[in-house]
């Protein structure tokens, strides 16, 4: 399987997971509504009975926005406070949900029960992984932008034009983006590893995922890149469609709202799609490659797990192998299972 197969297969798998998709969308929607409500109360109070608000129906009006914000400058404090609460909360929920997403995808069982079972089972280990990678991202950000900060003044004094400065600064952002994507890739595969192996050994999982990502660098990195870039053309199309919509009438407003929510739903879809593609890629590579460097003690568990997958379709246990012969037998069994699974998907 290459990245394109994983990408397309992930898309299809996500489409089957409608209940989870709607649940995630609903959580996003409700949380945003809860956060926006007090803000809207402030805005409504700020505008009072003014007709100025109707000017905004026809599009951006700088004078009105400026005067409104000047008179209601506490709004920024309020928005900041809301974001400070809602972002960590939503992040925690997303960590919780990621376990459920991977679990449903792995089991091809798209029920909310499976989803919540997976979410609960994986929450703590996924939380540990997520925190670890946030810390890593922050450390790398400090390192990359620290170097940028330390060198930019010197670069400024020698650069012949703003073009070279642009590319210099851009190269740092690009470097950080690449590092960030790389770390996110490792994070994704670490989650897959932990879930598939029901393991709590975070460090080992990170190490194995790091090795995995490096070993399959082109596929893992570009799969992540492809998944990260996919929303851009969609956003462009969405922007083009909605750009000239004033929403000045009720019907226009409803259409605009629906289009907005479709785009948010797509963002949620992307989130699940990302996990699905990664899992698709990992489960195949994992099965085919893992045996070559496997912890030989746990083949028995593997074997048991292999029996399980006749019901579960996919593997979810750590391998133990005692002899090369046993391994070969198992591999053969696994390949049959994988082929079976692929046929059933087709």
């Amino acid at each position: 399987m290459n990245l394109f197969n994983a990408y397309s297969q992930g898309f299809k798998e996500t489409g089957k997971n409608l209940r989870v998709l709607f649940l995630l969308f609903a959580v996003n929607f409700v949380l945003a509504i809860l956060a926006i409500k007090p803000l809207m109360n402030l805005i409504t109070k700020g505008f009072g009975n003014s007709l100025a608000v109707t000017e905004l129906l026809h599009g951006f009006n700088y004078t009105i926005i400026n005067d409104f914000l000047s008179q209601n400058n506490h709004l920024f404090t309020f928005i900041t406070a809301i974001l400070l609460v809602i972002i960590p909360l939503y992040w925690l929920l997303s960590v919780f949900f990621s376990g459920g997403i991977l679990h449903t995808l792995n089991r091809n069982s798209y029920t909310l029960t499976t989803f919540f079972n997976g979410a609960v089972a994986n929450f703590l280990r996924f939380l540990a992984v997520s925190l670890t990678f946030i810390i890593l991202q922050v450390l790398f950000a400090l390192a990359v932008f620290g170097i940028l900060g330390a060198t930019i003044e010197n670069f400024f004094s020698t650069a012949s034009s703003e073009i070279s400065i642009f590319w210099y600064v851009f190269s740092f952002f690009l470097s950080f983006s690449i590092i960030s994507l790389f770390l996110q890739s490792i994070s994704d595969y670490t989650k897959c590893y932990l879930m598939l192996n029901a393991s709590n050994n975070i460090l080992k999982a990170i190490w194995r995922s790091l090795v995995f990502v490096i070993k399959h660098f082109l596929n893992t990195f570009f799969l992540k890149l492809l998944l990260s870039l996919t929303p851009l053309p969609v956003f462009y199309i969405w922007y083009k469609i909605t750009h000239d919509m004033e929403g000045a009438t009720w019907l226009g407003l409803i259409v605009l709202f629906v289009l907005q929510q479709i785009f948010v739903f797509f963002r949620v879809y992307m989130h699940v799609w990302s996990y699905a593609s990664v899992l698709e890629f990992y489960s195949h590579r994992f099965l085919l490659a893992e045996f070559n460097s496997i912890d030989k003690k746990s083949f028995t568990n593997w074997n048991n797990a292999a029996t399980d997958i006749s019901e579960e379709k996919k593997v979810s246990a750590a391998p133990i192998q005692e002899t090369q012969k046993e391994e070969d037998v198992y591999m053969q069994k696994m390949d049959e299972e994988i082929n079976k699974t692929n046929e059933s998907k087709v």
């Binding site: 007709l51 809602i86 400024f156 963002r267």
Partner: protein, 660 residues
């Protein structure tokens, strides 16, 4: 009379003769009084960043007073050390660790009359504004004799300038040089009756952090010698260019009827030229800004057209635009009558019109400061404010009323809107008046009170008197004061005169009161509609006397409404404002509310209810700092709030999704 004095007067005679019979190179007749005329030969040493120059100044005493001393600006000394008034006021850290190269100075080595009488011993630095003993930006010299009315004096200077690293629009960075405020420049002598002078005196201020300049009109013949590989541009017309065997080139520029002379040199400059009517526009641009060349020309031509139509033809046949490199941005956005620096960035999107904004603004100074040579030290609004008003008019006219400055990705901001927001969003709008010495504005106030608020004040005046009358005022002001030194009072007098002439003897409002509130006063303006009430007129109830007897009545309400619209004034500024009142029947009434009361009720009676009221419905009074409370409706359109809600919701949903 002592021999030196005789020589002195002989020199005056010959100088006067020379001035009056010299060839006219650019204009057939002088446009100005040409009070201070300079011939300067300057060498630029690009290695040690030094200028060495000789300067011959011919100064004509245009006043009826007899002068015994002359006062000069030595602006470059503002950057001499961190103790100058400029440096202290601007709170600059000073040097970045290399004071020898960061700071600069102007040093006069010789100063003599045409007859060689040495005046250097009489040269005294002094600080008329703050008595700062370390400031050397103003000096005076004692003349050995008297400079009689209408006579002239020739002074020969030998001076050197160590250029600072670019600061306050002058200096060098690498091989880019922007040479401004660089020569000893005579101050303006104001005789009694000129501007606010009650008796004749020099008006020669120190260089302050927040101030520009005040200068005489004159001619400039400037010979600039520097290495051949440098491209040079100036505010003068290139008359000649000669290369010598040492690898040096001498550029000879002449400028007439301007107030200052600046020039620039760089190896990286590319040159683009465009002829527009009689004006040859030269753009010195950076190679990486090639795509922006046309935008500079378009903006300049837009400004030329607009000024020609509204004020008068741009008289000069040459105009130089300088596009500084990114490392020389400290020199961007600076104006001299026939030269200005713009400022642009590689790949600047067309929807961001910062290049156009700076270009139009700096060009506009050719009129406000260049030809109307107001005192920028004492009345900064007369150049920056008027010019900002024109800048916003031009940008919003050519690039769209609400898109004059920004039109990108659904964000649209007009240049006037942006300018107004600088003032309207001030927390303390009354921290200063517009009319104030530039260096006396409170911290952060210079930009708002000399640029933004004046633009709003003039736009509001236009809203009140109408565009036609406004342009008549401006045209009259320009025609009457071009190539002179107008004051705020002069402008107000003309405004009053034109408004009166257009009012058939019944002026709508008091222009003097307007300016006393908005220019001389610091109050802000904020009118609001704070309530609307509709009540059915009650029927007769109670005891009523009819035919001598008291009888009780208990009638039901009538079908007539008694309505009122409550208007309140939260600011200090009182102006007549229009109020548009709409009724449930669709009827509309446009009233003019002209009262100094803080709370006032407009009352209506009839079969229909008042549904909304809007102060200044056509946004003629942008001076009102809060447009939100300018209207009130008893039935607020929910759709608008829902749209805001949906938009906020959408972006919040996306935002939080971003973090997972």
């Amino acid at each position: 009379m002592k021999p030196p004095a005789i020589k002195f007067f002989l020199s005056i005679f010959f100088a006067f003769f020379a001035i009056n019979f010299q060839a006219q190179y650019i204009f057939n007749l002088p446009l100005s009084n040409r009070q201070a005329n300079y011939i300067i030969r300057v060498n630029l040493n690009t290695e040690n960043k030094m200028l060495t120059a000789v300067q011959k100044l011919t100064y004509i005493n245009q006043s009826a007073d007899t002068l015994t001393e002359l006062q000069f600006h030595a602006y470059m000394n503002a950057f001499m050390n961190n103790q100058s008034t400029f440096m202290k006021e601007s709170n600059r850290p000073g040097s970045s660790g290399n004071p020898e190269w960061d700071f600069g100075f102007l040093k006069i080595n010789k100063l003599s009359l045409a007859d060689s009488a040495n005046l250097l011993p009489s040269l005294t630095y002094f600080s008329p504004d703050d008595n700062n003993p370390d400031d050397r930006t103003v000096f005076k010299i004692k003349l050995p004799g008297k400079l009689m009315p209408k006579d002239s004096v020739i002074l020969n200077f030998e001076f050197e300038v160590k250029l600072p690293k670019i600061i306050a629009r002058t200096g060098y960075v690498r091989d880019y040089f922007f040479i401004a405020q660089w020569f000893p420049k005579i101050g303006v002598y104001e005789p009694a009756g000129m501007r606010y002078a009650k008796r004749g005196a020099w008006n020669c201020h120190q260089f302050h952090a927040n101030s520009e300049f005040y200068s005489n009109f004159g001619t400039y013949d400037v010979y600039i010698t520097l290495p051949q590989e440098y491209v040079v541009g100036s505010g003068g017309k290139l008359m000649d260019k000669k290369e010598d065997a040492k690898g040096l080139t001498t550029w000879y520029f002449r400028a007439e009827d301007i107030v200052d002379f600046a020039w620039t040199a760089s190896k990286r400059f590319k040159v683009a030229e465009k002829q527009w009517n009689h004006v040859k526009i030269q753009l010195l641009y950076q190679p990486e800004h090639k795509d922006l060349v046309q935008r500079h020309f378009d903006a300049t031509i837009a400004a030329l057209e607009y000024f020609e139509e509204t004020l008068e033809t741009f008289p000069y046949p040459h105009l130089t635009i300088v596009d500084p490199p990114f490392y020389g941005m400290g020199s961007s956005g600076m104006e001299y009558t026939t030269l200005f620096t713009a400022g642009s960035f590689w790949n600047e999107p067309e929807g961001l019109r910062f290049t156009e904004m700076v270009t139009v603004h700096e060009f506009g100074h050719a009129y406000f400061m260049g030809m109307l040579a107001s005192n920028e030290f004492e009345e900064a609004w007369l150049d920056e404010g008027f010019n900002s008003y024109f800048e916003t008019k031009i940008l919003d006219h050519y690039y769209g009323k609400n898109t004059g400055l920004i039109d990108i990705a659904g964000i649209q901001i007009g240049d006037f809107e942006f300018s107004r927001s600088g003032y309207a969003s001030l927390k303390n709008k009354g921290m200063a008046e517009i009319y104030r010495n530039a260096w006396d504005y409170p911290y952060g106030g210079y930009g708002v009170y000399s640029y933004q608020k004046p633009a709003v004040v003039l736009q509001t005046l236009e809203g009140i008197v109408g565009e036609k009358v406004m342009y008549q005022i401006l045209k009259t002001y320009f025609k009457r004061w071009k190539f002179k030194h107008p004051s705020t009072r002069n402008f107000i007098e003309i405004a009053a005169e034109v408004i009166e002439a257009n009012s058939n003897g019944n002026p709508k409002f008091d222009i003097n009161q307007y300016f006393s509130q908005t220019v001389y006063g610091s109050g802000h303006m904020d009118y609001a509609v704070t309530d609307i009430s509709n009540q059915l007129k009650p029927g007769a109830q109670g005891w009523f006397e009819t035919t001598g007897n008291l009888a009780v009545k208990n009638e039901k309400s009538t079908d007539q409404y008694e309505s009122y619209v409550q208007i309140e004034r939260f600011g200090e500024v009182i102006l007549p404002v229009e109020v548009l009142v709409k009724f449930s029947s669709g009827r509309e009434v446009l009233e003019t509310f002209d009262s100094d009361q803080k709370r006032f009720r407009l009352k209506y009676s009839g079969p229909d209810r008042v549904v909304s009221a809007t102060i200044d419905p056509n946004f003629k009074i942008p001076l009102d700092t809060n447009v939100i409370n300018n209207s009130y409706s008893i039935t607020v359109k929910q759709a608008a709030k829902r749209k805001i809600f949906a938009t906020f919701l959408f972006w919040l949903q996306n935002f939080i999704q971003f973090f997972i």
